[in-house]
Amino acid sequence: MAELVYDKDGRLLFTKEMKEEYTILMPQMLPVHFGMFRQLLVLEGYKVDMLNTNHRGIIDEGLKYVHNDTCYPALLVIGQLIDAIKNGGYDSHKVALFITQTGGGCRASNYIHLLRKALEKAGLEFVPVISVNLSGLEKNPGFSLTLPLIRKLIYGMMYGDLLVNAANQVRPYELTAGDTDRMLDHWQSKLIDSFQAGRGMSRKQMRANFDAILADFETIPVSHEEKVRVGVVGEIYVKFSPLGNNNLEDFLLSEGAEPVVPGLTDFMIFKIFNREVDVNIYGGLWVKKKFCQIFKGYIEACQKDMIAALKKTRFRAPGTFEGMHKLVQGYLGDGNKMGEGWLLTGEMLELIHSGVPNIVCTQPFGCLPNHIVGKGMIRRLKDDYPNSNIVAIDYDPGATKINQENRIKLMLANAKALAKQEKGKELVGADV
């Protein structure tokens, strides 16, 4: 059995022996993306399990081990991990945990520490926690994010964004229920098989795959009824995770709306761009800035591939990061970087500009950055775009679904009325 090794500050390390013996548990935020990340890590020789659990017990574990006023995502992620160790049929002495660490002035940077505190409280202090970060925050001998691995993960993210984007545009209209999800599954396993064979990991191959994926999705028979499109933005975890947002996308679908969920890529570019901005507005090394620019340029190029692929089809394509950055000028400064920072407002602007003025802005109750960039900007957006129809929904262990759904329903009722109004205007215009 692997020995427990600590660093000089007393942090339990994930050792090379552990890599052989331990199963690493990974919380889930985006089913498609994270499924692919998992597979890529397995190819690197890690034993990784992704947690798909979704039940009340997770929240109870979280409430028990995490300060109850801490943000909801921390409570859920930590609750999910501890619940899995206790009830998931694992040998608790042979598991390790993955958790992401973003760095930055938001409380989220503290998740890893809160997780360790929680493990200690639960008598599980012997379980190593592996930080997944791009800031070089914590290092472990048994795990490293090498450059080739990072590159693969970026591809995984691009595929994830494209698949989810296409699926979201087909699912509400599919004639045979389940077609879209079957296609998603098909492509996920197909991509994973090709990763295993070492294919699909160059821009050229990715572009070809993009075209093939979209062509396949286009074959799914769909109806041509008109549906209200609803944008979903917010704090990254509750925006994406069905566990965090009480299955928001399913609810929107059941209400006859088409959810439009901006992808993960912009968030990644945003986080890299922030480092560049820091040098611009506060001073710093140009080398650092240059490095960030190159890294960012690479992902942006991949994003442009994705947009180009979508533009060739009947699907709507998202805008570029650059385009969004332009839209947000005059609303928030580039320096607004904690949490989702200006990106959140940028996403709302992009949605409005692309004909999706109906938006659910999700946040954990009491989310600090969202006071500013979410709720704080809705007034201004309403002034500038009177047809914008944004509802802010708080998520926390105490918020009930019924309360949230009622507010979303109000937004949907407004959306339908607005659509009617717009149509009325068009008709009047036609008469003249």
Partner: protein, 979 residues
């Protein structure tokens, strides 16, 4: 002709209307449903079967509880705000805005231009249910509350954000003798403030306003508050005749868009959808069977004091009074602790009258046989009762409870007391009270909470609690604050949970709230081996059982659990060993009189709301004060670094050494400006600007900017900024400067040097939400003061671009500004040291009051610094001692500069025998969810006590006093133990 039916199922009522084709009402009803919404709706429909049976109708359901009903029954549904808007459009077409209050919702709809609708968020209790709760609290009906309010003379400030907060504001006012009439009006005012502040969010309420919903329909006092606050005349404040049914009428109007169906089919659908249970989230039962329950009761009934007969007993006796927040408890004991007399009753909002009546009764029973040799009082109303009846001793609740618990279990190491309004938990270590935990105002899942639910469901509390004992599937309601709990219960009911399941679920949720939220324990061992539980709420067997189940450990509940405070006070009175008691004699009680008058103190900027109680014989008691000045005593000024810093910063205004020729620059005095002002003042005056500070914070200033606050859950220090900035606009400055700062100064004592997101970016929020800022020049550049060399370059460029100031001049000014900031810091360190030396010379204890720099604002800390020094402490701020410690790894990511100071201050305090630390936490502060636990562990590992004071826009100094006095008592015990 096809009739249209609208059914509005709200959280507490069902409204049904029937409408003909000319939009005329043929039928309307408004009824409470006591959580049996579906049944109620069916009954109403059946009552009008004559009119509708055999016909096709268009029927649409609306309302917050209607969604579930409609879904289950397969009926058409429209959202209620949307329905209301439709009704207003039809009946009152030239409306500018609608304010609608319902049972648990508050809504504003703006017409004109784009339709804009707002609903209260999930944390907002200023609604009908809130008014119900407040009426329960004051022991009047809602109608009586309304009548009372119309006779008010003054309005007390009451927290308007959340019902639970308001409760803890009202309680002290009542207990200290505030007039019910004034409190009633203040409750309505709180609802108005809540609605206006929480929902307008920058859009002004003007023009013709329509008021709808049950509360606004029935409560004249509430109408009056709205009309007064919004300064409306009759033409602009419309209260329509059917204002309570507008949403239902709207639903009927919207029904035109839906298919007509046979009425009898619809009624059948609604009836058949009843009773479909789908509650998945249930928990194990409390008791499997009667035998379990019997064994349980027998075990707990063993802890009981001897019962003596007051009618035959001869000898000495001791009186203990616990004037609690909602109840009064009185005991009379013999020297061995035997009970002669006990009394437990709701204080009916007037504790003095109640105690008076009881004392008369006790004297009568005592006759000449029993002599009262000592009397002591504890609880919220301690001061009032002590002064009213000349009791011998007043003692803080925690100490009283410990005395009582130790009487039953001398080894007790953990006590938890859940009363009507508050929850107290504390550990006992080496015979001294250690580590005190009180519930925060936002999570008071206490006795009155379950009582309010019982009443709402139409039960008496005792019966309600028993209901849950044997249910096989208690519903899991989680652990959360009352306001949230309402909607959880609503959801459980929707899912078909029975009253029994809910009763048990509520008991369990109280326990979970106590263990996980208040105590923050993960296991029984975090509490202790010998746990004594007390407080009225533990008389509830369901709560007691749930507590034992959750901990997996048996605990002691004395049979007198509800009167332990009074019992402890009586024991303390006994231990005074007095020859004679000062308690008012039987004859003195005959001429007892009491009147209470509200007064605003004008002796300083705190403007405390005082209540002057006058008793017969000229005895007076003033409450609500923070310092001793209104009592006619000279204020004892012990060194107070909060005051020192505040005065020093306030003085940084004007032209300094410059000539002011470049114009007047306004600096809002809030958030990080409390730290950076020395820097900016020097910088701007050096550049020949005149610095204009926004006025001192006050509630008035807060209200001034309140309507532009977009997020009602942000902290109070941030909310105040709106008023500050508006005041600067009014002052006509040439520009307002308020920079964004992601980074704070790097003090090399933490992993990173961030500001919290709110501090960092609030200027951008102000720019987007304050229309007034268009009238001035608002400058909010990103400033990186943490890199002095770079800032010289970048900052001077900014001044060149913005004001055309020569680079060289700006560089020099920036250099001078850094020096000025360093001087300020050194001065704080130096003065802090002086104060410490002074305290040591005089042998005074020192409290380090640790918070953020802006916590020195008297409007934010509500004069807590005055209160602390009035108890004989010298007060130092965290930044005056933090610098003694250098970087050390923490168990959390130590990434915020201000917060890092608190950790280091705590570490320093651990090394000083005469210092204790008290942490100030603003409600809604996200970072303190992280620092709180860390501070506690630093201090407890260092052998210190951890005390946290939560503060918000309203102060509940009662709770603060309990904590500080408990801290003092604990320090005292420790000292005794050490000697």
């Amino acid at each position: 002709m096809i009739l249209r039916v609208g059914i509005d199922i709200g959280s507490t009522t069902v409204k049904v209307v029937v409408m003909d084709e000319d939009n005329k009402l043929l039928f309307r009803s408004y009824e409470r449903h006591y959580s049996k919404a579906r049944e109620r709706a069916c009954e109403t429909l059946r009552s009008i079967e004559d009119m509708l049976s055999g016909k096709d109708v268009r029927l649409v359901v609306t309302g917050s509880a209607g969604l579930g009903v409609a879904k289950a029954a397969g009926l058409d549904f429209v959202q209620e705000v949307y329905a209301t808007a439709a009704a207003v459009n039809t009946y009152i077409p030239d409306t500018d805005a609608v304010i609608e209050l319902g049972g648990e919702d508050a809504k504003i709809i703006f017409f004109g231009g784009a339709l804009e609708e707002r609903m209260n968020g999930s944390c907002a209790g200023g609604t009908g249910a809130f008014i119900d709760q407040m009426a329960t609290l004051m022991n009047v009906t809602v109608n009586e509350l309304d009548e009372l309010s119309l006779k008010h003379e003054k309005i007390y400030p009451i927290a308007s954000r959340c019902g639970v907060f308001a409760k803890s504001d009202i309680q002290p006012i009542l207990n200290q003798g505030g007039r019910k009439e004034d409190v009633a009006a203040s409750i309505f005012q709180a609802v108005v403030d809540q609605t206006v502040a929480g929902l307008t969010q920058g859009r002004e309420l003007k023009g013709k306003l329509v008021f709808l919903g049950g509360p606004l329909h029935f409560l004249m006092g509430l109408r009056e508050r709205f009309v007064d606050t919004l300064q409306l005349d009759e033409a602009h404040a419309i209260f329509p005749e059917d204002g309570d049914c507008f949403a239902a009428m709207g639903a009927a109007l919207c029904a035109s868009d839906y298919e007509a169906r046979p009425f009898d089919d619809l009624l059948r659908l609604l009836e058949e959808s009843r009773g479909a249970t789908s509650v998945v989230d249930t928990m194990p039962p409390l008791f499997e069977n009667q035998a379990d329950y019997d064994a349980f009761t027998a075990r707990h009934n063993a802890s009981t004091p001897p019962q003596l007969d007051i009618n035959t007993y001869v000898g000495n006796a001791y009186l203990g009074i616990d004037s609690g927040s909602t109840t009064a408890k009185i005991v009379l004991i013999a020297p061995d602790g035997g009970l002669l007399y006990t009394y437990y009753h709701s204080n009916l909002g007037n504790p003095v009258a109640l105690v008076l009546e009881q004392l008369k009764e006790i004297y009568k029973l005592c006759g000449d046989r029993i002599k009262i040799r000592g009397s002591a009082v504890t609880g919220y109303g301690e001061d009032l009762i002590k002064n009213a009846f000349s009791c011998d001793l007043g003692l803080v609740e925690t100490v009283a409870h410990y005395r009582a618990a130790a009487h039953f279990n001398p080894d007790v190491d953990f006590i938890i007391d859940i009363g009507g309004q508050d929850m107290k938990c504390f550990k006992i270590r080496n015979g001294a009270v250690d580590s005190i935990m009180l519930n925060e105002a936002c999570s008071s899942g206490c006795g009155s909470f379950i009582e309010t639910f019982a009443k709402a469901l139409g039960y008496d509390i005792a019966d309600f609690a028993k209901l849950g004992l044997f249910t096989q599937k208690p519903v899991n309601l989680g652990s959360r604050c009352t306001v949230f709990m309402n909607s959880s219960v609503k959801q459980a009911q929707k899912d078909g949970a029975s009253v029994e399941d809910i009763s048990a679920g509520l008991s369990i949720s109280i326990v979970k709230n106590a263990i996980y939220k208040v105590i923050r324990a993960a296991s029984a061992d975090d509490l202790g081996r010998h746990i004594v539980v007390q407080g009225g709420t533990f008389h509830n067997d369901a709560v007691l059982r749930a507590f034992e189940q959750e901990l997996g450990r048996d605990v002691t509940r004395p049979t007198i659990a509800g009167i332990m405070g009074a019992f402890g006070a009586a024991l303390a009175a006994r231990d005074l060993k007095l020859e004679r008691s000062t308690l008012l004699s039987e004859s003195a009680l005959q001429s007892f009189s009491h009147s209470a008058k509200p007064v605003a103190c004008n002796l300083c900027t705190n403007h405390c709301s005082l209540t002057v109680n006058t008793f017969d014989g000229g005895r007076r008691f003033i409450s609500g004060n923070r310092c001793s000045r209104p009592l006619g005593k000279e204020k004892v000024e012990l060194p107070d670094l909060y005051r020192y810093k505040y005065e020093k910063l306030r003085a940084m205004e004007g032209k300094g050494f410059g000539n002011g020729s470049r114009g007047r620059i306004g600096l809002p005095f809030g958030l990080n400006m409390y730290e950076n002002l020395p820097f900016w003042f020097e910088l701007f005056t050096r550049l020949n600007f005149e610095v204009v500070l926004s006025p001192e914070s006050s509630r008035k200033l807060y209200i001034k900017g309140q309507r532009t606050i977009p997020s009602d859950t942000v902290c109070y220090p941030a909310k105040l900024l709106h008023g500050h900035v508006e005041a600067l606009v009014d002052a006509g400055v040439d520009a307002i400067f308020y920079p964004c700062m992601s980074y704070n100064f790097d003090e090399k004592s933490s992993d990173n040097n961030y500001n919290c997101p709110v501090v960092a970016y609030y200027p951008e929020l102000l720019a987007a939400n304050m229309p007034d800022l268009k009238k001035t020049r608002f400058l909010n550049p990103y400033a990186g003061l943490h890199r002095p060399r770079d800032y010289e370059r970048i900052g001077s460029q900014w001044f060149a671009d913005t004001f055309g100031i020569p680079r060289k001049e700006a560089v020099n000014a920036i250099r001078a500004a850094y020096q000025a900031y360093d001087r300020y810091k050194e001065d704080v360190h130096h003065t802090g040291q002086q104060y410490i030396d002074e305290a040591r010379k005089k042998g005074l204890p020192i409290i380090v009051l640790a918070g953020r720099p802006y916590h020195i604002d008297p409007e934010i800390n509500h004069g807590i610094n005055d209160l602390i020094t009035s108890f004989g402490f010298v007060l130092i701020s965290e930044d005056a001692v933090a610098f003694h410690e250098s970087y050390a790894p923490r168990k959390v990511l130590n990434q915020w500069t201000f917060q890092a100071r608190m950790y280091n201050a705590a570490r320093y305090v651990c090394e000083q025998s005469d210092m204790q630390l008290v942490q100030l936490v603003s409600f809604g502060c996200g970072t303190d969810a992280i620092t709180g636990d860390e501070m506690r562990s630093i201090l407890e590992q260092g052998g210190k006590l951890y005390t946290q004071l939560k503060i918000d826009d309203i102060s509940n100094l009662g709770a603060v006093k309990i904590r500080i006095r408990s801290l003092m008592a604990a320090m005292e015990e420790r000292r005794r133990h050490d000697n």
